[in-house]
């Protein structure tokens, strides 16, 4: 009997996601802020245009945020200390990302209210990107 190769357990005529490439690195939020929306953007070059990405971050947390500093997250904020003595709280930066072609752009956004300009204490956060190629 001829073997029908399309029936192989490890064969599929449909594409499959495979963990193809991993990118890791550290980014830094620095400088000063002003009232309203403050953003920082970071471009990360990818080797190839991705089919599907998973992106996770690691960075400072702060009370009342219960996330420990060593935890990684997909959606959330990192906390950046400032010279704002009156508020007593560090600035809270939400991390998002978008992809165009082979460039992934991470955006950190902080909405500043009730206080004037703040000087930030330079704060690092890490990213990990896994590219799932479709074969």
């Amino acid at each position: 009997m001829a073997v029908d190769l399309t029936k192989l357990v490890f064969h599929s005529n449909y594409p499959a996601f495979k963990n193809n490439r991993e990118y890791t690195g550290t980014l830094s939020i620095t400088g000063s802020t002003s009232g309203g929306t403050n953003t920082r953007t970071f471009d990360i070059a990818l080797d190839t245009e991705p089919d599907l990405l998973d992106v996770i971050f690691n960075g400072n947390s702060n009370s009342p945020d219960a996330r420990p500093d060593d935890a990684w997250f997909k959606n959330g904020e990192i906390w950046v200390p400032t010279n704002n003595a009156g508020g007593g709280n560090p600035s809270r930066w939400r991390l998002t990302y978008e992809v165009e072609g082979t460039t992934l752009t991470v955006t950190a956004t902080y909405i500043q209210q009730f206080v004037t300009g703040e000087t930030l204490t330079s704060t690092d956060f890490s990213y990990k990107i896994v590219d799932y190629s479709v074969f």
Partner: protein
């Protein structure tokens, strides 16, 4: 029929997402504000994960965070809907569920649906 070798599903050069264990649901009870549910995995590294929560206990599973348009006055108070965030350490997946506030506040029991996968990354 000719076999297209690029469609071979197994390629030993690469890692694959394989589910860590068969358990994928955890019940919880909404708290007054936030409630944390810890799911132990003990893998000693950060694995891939995905989480959904039945935020309104009506069979609709929300992935990611529920987003709503805030269109209320401060005088009327907040009616924020339920929401959740997740984070992962080398031994535990934590799901923090916010019950919401005002007329949108949830109570009672509901379910977290999750997957933890092996062989994350290259």
């Amino acid at each position: 029929m000719a076999t297209d070798l690029t469609k071979i599903a197994f390629d030993s050069r690469l890692n694959y997402l394989k589910k860590f264990n068969s358990v994928s649901e955890q019940s919880f009870t909404f708290g007054a504000t936030y409630v944390e549910e810890d799911i132990d995995h003990g893998l000693t590294y950060i694995p891939f994960w995905a989480v959904g929560v039945d935020l309104f206990n009506n069979g609709v599973i929300w992935s990611n965070e529920y987003v709503w348009e805030y269109a209320e006055s401060s005088a009327a108070g907040s009616n924020a809907p339920p929401n959740f965030v997740t984070w992962m350490t080398t031994d535990t997946l934590t799901v923090e569920v916010y019950a919401g506030s005002g007329t949108n506040q949830q109570s009672g029991d509901s379910t977290i649906y999750y997957g933890v996968y092996l062989d994350y990354g290259s």
